[in-house]
Symmetry: D4
Subunit: 249 residues, 8 copies
Amino acid sequence: MDVRQLLEQVKTGKVSLEEAERYLKDLPYEDIGCAKLDYHRSLRSGFGEVIYGPGKTVEQIVQICSHFAARKANVLATRVSPQQAEAVQRVLPEAEYEKLGRTLTLRFDAPRDLGFVAVCTGGTADIPVAEEAARTAEFFGCHVERIFDVGVAGIHRLFAKLEILRKANCIVAVAGMEGALAGVTAGLVENPVIAVPTSVGYGASFQGVAPLLTMLNSCAEGIGVVNIDNGFGAGYLAAQINRLAEKSR
Amino acid sequence: MDVRQLLEQVKTGKVSLEEAERYLKDLPYEDIGCAKLDYHRSLRSGFGEVIYGPGKTVEQIVQICSHFAARKANVLATRVSPQQAEAVQRVLPEAEYEKLGRTLTLRFDAPRDLGFVAVCTGGTADIPVAEEAARTAEFFGCHVERIFDVGVAGIHRLFAKLEILRKANCIVAVAGMEGALAGVTAGLVENPVIAVPTSVGYGASFQGVAPLLTMLNSCAEGIGVVNIDNGFGAGYLAAQINRLAEKSR
Amino acid sequence: MDVRQLLEQVKTGKVSLEEAERYLKDLPYEDIGCAKLDYHRSLRSGFGEVIYGPGKTVEQIVQICSHFAARKANVLATRVSPQQAEAVQRVLPEAEYEKLGRTLTLRFDAPRDLGFVAVCTGGTADIPVAEEAARTAEFFGCHVERIFDVGVAGIHRLFAKLEILRKANCIVAVAGMEGALAGVTAGLVENPVIAVPTSVGYGASFQGVAPLLTMLNSCAEGIGVVNIDNGFGAGYLAAQINRLAEKSR
Amino acid sequence: MDVRQLLEQVKTGKVSLEEAERYLKDLPYEDIGCAKLDYHRSLRSGFGEVIYGPGKTVEQIVQICSHFAARKANVLATRVSPQQAEAVQRVLPEAEYEKLGRTLTLRFDAPRDLGFVAVCTGGTADIPVAEEAARTAEFFGCHVERIFDVGVAGIHRLFAKLEILRKANCIVAVAGMEGALAGVTAGLVENPVIAVPTSVGYGASFQGVAPLLTMLNSCAEGIGVVNIDNGFGAGYLAAQINRLAEKSR
Amino acid sequence: MDVRQLLEQVKTGKVSLEEAERYLKDLPYEDIGCAKLDYHRSLRSGFGEVIYGPGKTVEQIVQICSHFAARKANVLATRVSPQQAEAVQRVLPEAEYEKLGRTLTLRFDAPRDLGFVAVCTGGTADIPVAEEAARTAEFFGCHVERIFDVGVAGIHRLFAKLEILRKANCIVAVAGMEGALAGVTAGLVENPVIAVPTSVGYGASFQGVAPLLTMLNSCAEGIGVVNIDNGFGAGYLAAQINRLAEKSR
Amino acid sequence: MDVRQLLEQVKTGKVSLEEAERYLKDLPYEDIGCAKLDYHRSLRSGFGEVIYGPGKTVEQIVQICSHFAARKANVLATRVSPQQAEAVQRVLPEAEYEKLGRTLTLRFDAPRDLGFVAVCTGGTADIPVAEEAARTAEFFGCHVERIFDVGVAGIHRLFAKLEILRKANCIVAVAGMEGALAGVTAGLVENPVIAVPTSVGYGASFQGVAPLLTMLNSCAEGIGVVNIDNGFGAGYLAAQINRLAEKSR
Amino acid sequence: MDVRQLLEQVKTGKVSLEEAERYLKDLPYEDIGCAKLDYHRSLRSGFGEVIYGPGKTVEQIVQICSHFAARKANVLATRVSPQQAEAVQRVLPEAEYEKLGRTLTLRFDAPRDLGFVAVCTGGTADIPVAEEAARTAEFFGCHVERIFDVGVAGIHRLFAKLEILRKANCIVAVAGMEGALAGVTAGLVENPVIAVPTSVGYGASFQGVAPLLTMLNSCAEGIGVVNIDNGFGAGYLAAQINRLAEKSR
Amino acid sequence: MDVRQLLEQVKTGKVSLEEAERYLKDLPYEDIGCAKLDYHRSLRSGFGEVIYGPGKTVEQIVQICSHFAARKANVLATRVSPQQAEAVQRVLPEAEYEKLGRTLTLRFDAPRDLGFVAVCTGGTADIPVAEEAARTAEFFGCHVERIFDVGVAGIHRLFAKLEILRKANCIVAVAGMEGALAGVTAGLVENPVIAVPTSVGYGASFQGVAPLLTMLNSCAEGIGVVNIDNGFGAGYLAAQINRLAEKSR
């Protein structure tokens, strides 16, 4: 029963004032106007369901994916282990597993046709995180250009890609170790850069703290930072920005 | 002399091949095609000049502002001390100083008419940082809705503003202490949230480390984090996103 | 207009379904059932208003206190500077200022008569934080026994107070430097210990990090820890526990 | 021989003054009045014995449990490995092992009938820590309501449980990653919230440091924090508070 | 009344069993055998009273010192500000104030004649902490050899003093910045080295964390470390060791 | 087509001004004058190729090495696992693998004959990192003197090698735990010391943080520090300095 | 050839002035007077050889032990793995291995008969570190009293052992988690306390940082702290102090 | 008396064997062969005296400078306050004070004519540290090219200076905030880069920790890092490298 129905029944006397009062008081806020709230927020926003793999058993993953598949809901599962993926694919052969970024996707309709996102990495070891970001952005309808291994130690590699970087609605810059890629890139383009520090490195990189601090302290404007190794978060944010950019096309 | 002129002179023989080669080799990359590069990047992107106040003498600030004013260039100066502001205003009475956020602006034309950004704070002590963000976004053409003192300890205050939050192209969430505002807000809206941790708090807030970590670890998707107290960075990023959103209106 | 009134007007047709729906949708959750929500949560819980002094101007503090005084609402203001206190007392001479703990209280009725809380400190330098805790607990109706300077370096001092400690409904243990007081005390009593690390110390106490970690890692059971120097938080929690203990007397 | 017996024998001359003096001087403080002190403090407080599993061999665990079982003493063992549990159950089939929270319990009488504690988690990965808390509280006689996966990223889930949360004598809020659950909950209820940060998360959660700081810095009053992943400590503190609340029923 | 008296009165019936039982139960442990426990531990150990200056008002310092002076008790006050010292000296002209190390001493008898302690520093900026250590050791009866500015960057300076270092019963090594003095010294002598990291330095010395870690990680055996800048603690420990060494002379 | 060719074609009219302008604008900066830029920077500097092993599959390592071998390019691969090494050696038997330092080298010509570098370690456990440094310096043409296990806890071992240390163009000092070797050495020689902290140690060495801080805070002048365990970086820097020293021989 | 021999040969002309000069100049400092310096410092001090196990191969350990055994030198090897121990015992069956503390000892004469050291632990999980300390102290000739599991959460356990603690020349206090044992103990005795933080604990104990800070910040005087888990260092320091105490017996 | 003289006297019998033995044993190592060791190491290396200003009184600075001036020794004093400088200049008017970098120099001869060092900064706020480096390098005989405000956020500024950077024997890269300048520069040149992190920045720059970590983790080879704000250390190291490079000209 939604709020409108409730109010109608109050008006007609089917529901007493006391009952209505209590009902409204206890309801979750969002339920008042929107039955879809029982579904995950990402679905509500038209973005499809997202599942976070770690801490879920193989059985749970299979069950959740099957549940959504039955409803023809698109699903993106992140940080999925090969064991989890294999089990899902046994039941849902249409599920697609990307090994490097450990994403598993299940699509029942074509994604929105959003604009263009560039995903860059400083080195080759950052690619798994970048793939997570890229697959996430693609799942939500973005076109993704992968520009890998363009770290600032050999800055000409980045410059060789400058034209394409400048055309993107937004750029996801993935880098470990010193993490300077985000700042240098942001200094070269006009659109937002989403910075993803990675745990790639050793010693004083402190599992990603060094690139995280580098990115937060960047002198270049136009950078938003996400958690260490959080490719998904970057891809999601990129899709949101892209959707805004493409809204009125 | 820009690249075009150089090439013309190579063609006509006024400049030898050797000279042209050396010239092109040594030139900064961006200078090749764009004389505007002598100007700050933000100007190039149509966003106006930005000056960072700290570490500059009163005389330097006055000189720089005067220089831009002479060229009718719009200027935003951040973290400007009252002494610096007063000195500029003595020479340029049209300069506007906002005390809380310590921004000084100088406009010679109407800003672009970009869309709508909401700037929220957890508490009243976060307002200076929020004002820096708001003034920055406004300088770059955004409409800003200020929604202050809506921290999660009294979450009904945030909910009372939900409708307006959901209409914004993007939200700047400014919070110190526990910093949960960004995550809770991102869970309630569809558009990007730019999270600004502040150094407001004491003890285990460690001058903003606590809200910084909270924001980086948020379970809600769609959050980009900037440096502690970096209101300017958040306002700039909000303006970039807003510009993308409004591009095609 | 509260929810009950609204529902009555829906029933009688004074308010249309559409209006009622929108109203309910936009209302802060808590407002639905409880008009007192415009007031601070602490008031709602019968505990009186609380004001946090830092970041407020002298004028703001005076204004807020006057506002509450006009409504005969009890007020506790914490971390109030002598300047702020003096200004309030000029307008409201009945306001009481406690210098050490920097609390300012304004009472218009007798507090609840809750049970007994013991507030201990490791050293004399911890007393300001302890006074903040004690005054807070007293404001909310607790009886407070102050047991100061009973640090574990001379443990007989603590033992001399054991009988009284064991009678308290709960104990607030305030300590800087090594911060072992909370753990040793919890090992001696049956009721909860609220541990308050203080920034008292030097060198490797790291402004309260050392006692904070000590308290979090205590081997004794029955300890809840609050932020460094957070006397108010400890006093509030003690009052909550005390209220539970005394509920059914 | 307890103190009373000793004194009687001094009076009758069976024990010389010298002997009695030495005996009293060397005795542990608590032994003076209470022979039960040879037993664990938790037993003395009527709460039953507690054993901490890590660092004990399978043989040791079995031996300790058997020892208590022979005396019909209730036992709670925490962080018990499956191997340890299996070995105990082979000898004491009545021992109950809860896999998720890794607690093992042995009861010989019905627990006290204390009041009602709510144990909440932010996500599903926090459940093991929450189960440790819940089982501990139950072992000490509390009724526990489990409210799992109500993190603030989808805050309507928490609101749907508000009524039950408000009825609890105290709430244990278990959360990793950003850890905002405790603060948001404390802002919605009147009774104490015991906050348990968990090591769930990655990157800048730093194995639980992020939620720990969030919880310590919460703007909402009425929160006591325990160590990262310390479900037992939270359950114990909840039971203490509950016992106070139920004392006089 | 001490334990012996009590027992006698129990025997003679002057004190009832019940009274005696309660009395023994509540007494602080240490009081049972030793009335001196009302005095500070350091006095009990024949070492004289110690007062920690910070956090005490000028009046309190004067009062405490006067109190001890009236009883002809020796007093060492540490971290005494010039203001505090001046006020004490106005009342007690015989009090001696050492400016660099900020110690104030009041002696009424000759100190014990303990053996020989060497106090070394890495640089001249470490001398205040070293003086606190030296004065403390002297107060407790040690002979002190001051060996300042013998840091390892010019290691011949340390070697020039090797003979005297090897004769000391123990060595206090005071150093900031890299803090390698303690380890190098311990590698050259047979007796214990007490290492005192200082907050002297800048940048990555992190107010003494760098030398603290260096000293804790020293490869040389025979080092005990005290808190950053804790000259008093080092001097006290040196005196304890010296007393052991000299006991049987 | 390089810049010279382009300019010639502009002069002869084969390329239009517009085309040339666009071409120059988009080119990576370094490509303008130097086709070798497609190669790695280290090659450009005459130093040979460097490959970082971690994060590369066995196949990738073999492929890259084969690629260079086909062009007779010298290769240094660092942090190569035994598995990776074995696979390369199966295809390229001339490849040399050094187990301790995990370097794999492939030489097709004699290296430059640069001067003399000393590589020292504090302990035996630091040798793997030192070997990485030594092999790197040798690969780039240095003569290397290995001086291992000369930590400052037994400083005579270092002094026994002083003459040879003073002859080196530069010294690589490798040390974990307290890390004082670099500072003591720099105090004894005239030439630069490259300090390499290692993760050797336990407890408060924090995986190399302790020696890193020691080295950064050294009172001795003439020290440049590299990342924890970064033997390669130290060897490379030593070779650069050595090359400068030997340039004009 | 020692210095005396050299000088004699200079006198008799067997060695030229030039040769002698060079020899003296290059010699390690300690070699000048003491041929034993080729041996480890600990031997020089009459304390026997010490070997640190980690990072040494089984073969190396066997070789070193055999080398010393051949010379009838006493050896203490610390942190020896069972594999290493077994291999040594196969060759040297008289070698004694203590599993918990992982020490291996080889004695060829009776140790010195030094005085009495007490080694305490907070919990049972600290025993391995305590055993390392105890065995080390015993190897160097101390009598050791083991007082385990006397943590401050049940402080009567510590008090029960007070008499013996007060008789010890020095006390080694080993504790993880909160680490308050050292401070409480130091407050109860007159002699030095050597504090050993352990990595026992979880969450905010940060692998021993919490007890390390507790111990460094102790309010009780007379504490020297060693590295986390450094049982050997504590035992060595205890033996040094004990030797001083017993020197003149 | 130097070693040669001693040996001659031993030979002639003027000094007994016993006397000579003791003398050699106690002498500082370096004194044996080198009387210059009484002077500071930097003097010994022909580099002139260096004085560190902080912690020295105005009188001490004047006295030390006068002492050296009397001996016509060149002096470089760093971190000299204006008060200290003024006092020195009153006595020694030839002393030169550079305000920004706070260096004071006193030269009595022309410096060596070493090669060319480039000193770069990321921003204008880094200039004081850069000036300290530059003046230091100049004092020791280097030619210095100052290249300020070439941070990577506007990377064309750096590229505009590439030719001059590539000609330098070594480069000092001074940068705060993100600190990426060192890595990008090292990727563009062949010679060593000395990286100086500065405390310029705010929030998550943590007083220079962020650029320090960035520099230590740089992917580009050929970087040696010094302490935060350590301009002197960088200038000194640059001079050492330069001296090596210029040795054989």
